[in-house]
Assembly symmetry: C2
Homo-oligomer: 245 residues x 2
């Protein structure tokens, strides 16, 4: 993966300003935005692992090599997709209620959004930070303006909530896929594995604590509880800080 200085800076330019149109040469028959939209459509329909440059190009009715006129890399395309998606989320500080209500609302919606667009979580690993990501973070920090937390502490809270959401999302997305992936006979991966584990190989008493689970909470319920725990901790921290100062 040749990540040259030039391709990195071109990607950053695309994220932050867009590229100035050249003066000479034939007119563009596409725009960066249309390329990004097509890529998102493919990712939405078939998942990121099926997202290829050729498929995006075919969607747009152009040759595969043409995409490289608009975008230096597949990595750049993915970064643009992600930042675009972040830009669609409501800004946290504009939500109603106390800081805690704002955090809960954004966390819940983030979880739902990741779940609805699983390609987001599998791609965000890219190290690019775009303007929408900046704006979102800035807005999230503003949520804590009246809490007495320092800027650094507010960052810690924001990143912690984000980490919690992403961690749960990873689990939920895997579970969702295990349910929807089916073999040629129509059995889901989840049911095959469950069948295997329940009928074979796990003798009673080998995992006693797991056996004690009777009615497992669903993933979203677990997420909600963890959010309460985390924010209880933050709230206590804020209250103590207020009592001292």
């Amino acid at each position: 993966m040749g990540a040259t200085r030039k391709s990195i800076e071109t990607t950053l330019d695309l994220l932050w300003t867009g590229l100035g149109r050249p003066k000479r040469g034939p007119r563009h028959q596409l725009t960066v935005r249309r390329v990004v939209e097509a890529a998102m459509a493919v990712a939405e329909a078939e998942g990121v692992e099926a997202l290829s440059m050729r498929k995006v190009a075919a969607h747009l009715g152009v040759g595969a090599a043409t995409l490289y006129t608009y975008v230096p890399d597949k990595a750049a395309l993915l970064a643009l997709m992600v930042d675009d998606m972040i830009g669609r989320a409501p800004l946290p500080h504009t939500r109603p209620g106390t800081w805690r209500e704002k955090v809960e609302a954004w966390a819940r919606e983030d979880l739902a959004s990741f779940r609805a667009h699983p390609w987001l979580i599998e791609v965000t690993s890219g190290p690019f930070v775009g303007p929408h990501a900046f704006a979102w973070t800035d807005s999230a920090l503003r949520v804590f303006d009246d809490t007495g937390l320092s800027a650094e502490e507010a960052v810690a809270v924001v990143e912690s909530v984000d980490a919690l959401v992403r961690g749960h999302v990873a689990r939920v997305v895997v579970a969702d896929r295990a349910e929807s992936l089916t073999d040629p006979q129509g059995r889901s991966f989840a049911s095959i594995q469950e069948g295997y584990l329940s009928t074979r190989r796990i003798e009673a008493g080998r995992f006693p604590s797991i056996e004690r689970i009777e009615a497992p909470l669903d993933a979203v319920a677990v997420f909600e509880r963890s959010l309460v725990w985390l924010l209880d901790g933050v709230e206590r921290d804020i209250a103590e800080r207020g009592a001292r100062g």
Copy 2:
């Protein structure tokens, strides 16, 4: 990716029991374990994204097609790698101290381990659950045996801590890579992006809350604080439960 019922069950057999040796035919010159070890060596040295069947085969001095005698899939190979790695982690309930000390110890070590072996986090997305994963979870649940939490609630705590760790790990691993990825001239991705953002395009006042950050906490410090918050919340929950019942 053709995940047939047969390949899924073969993978589960490999995870849980190993495969019985056939009666006829030439002797094996390899074992599943050696294949898995070679794959882990490659992942360790070059990262998962560089892990290919041909590279593993070359490492073992055999043809690429030979690997398919031992393993049905690349997915199976990855599942075996992950479960093997999980098996190396100390069992939570054997750690010293209170439930909280045990949780903190395992969370801290998990973070460090993911960071040292980043391929783990990029692969664990696989839906297979192996015996080491079961054993680890069972052990983690035992940590809460004396807290008064129900089995279901203990699961919620374990999954929440795990989610928090994984979420932070994602961030840390991306940051680590942005630091270590260098272009041909030796500049790191992180420094290129930072240079770009600080000298261009972000006019003062556009992101006021971000500007207010002076000495950002490092990622591990943020993780430690979030762990305190989460466990403070859990502890309060446990205490209230104890007071009621």
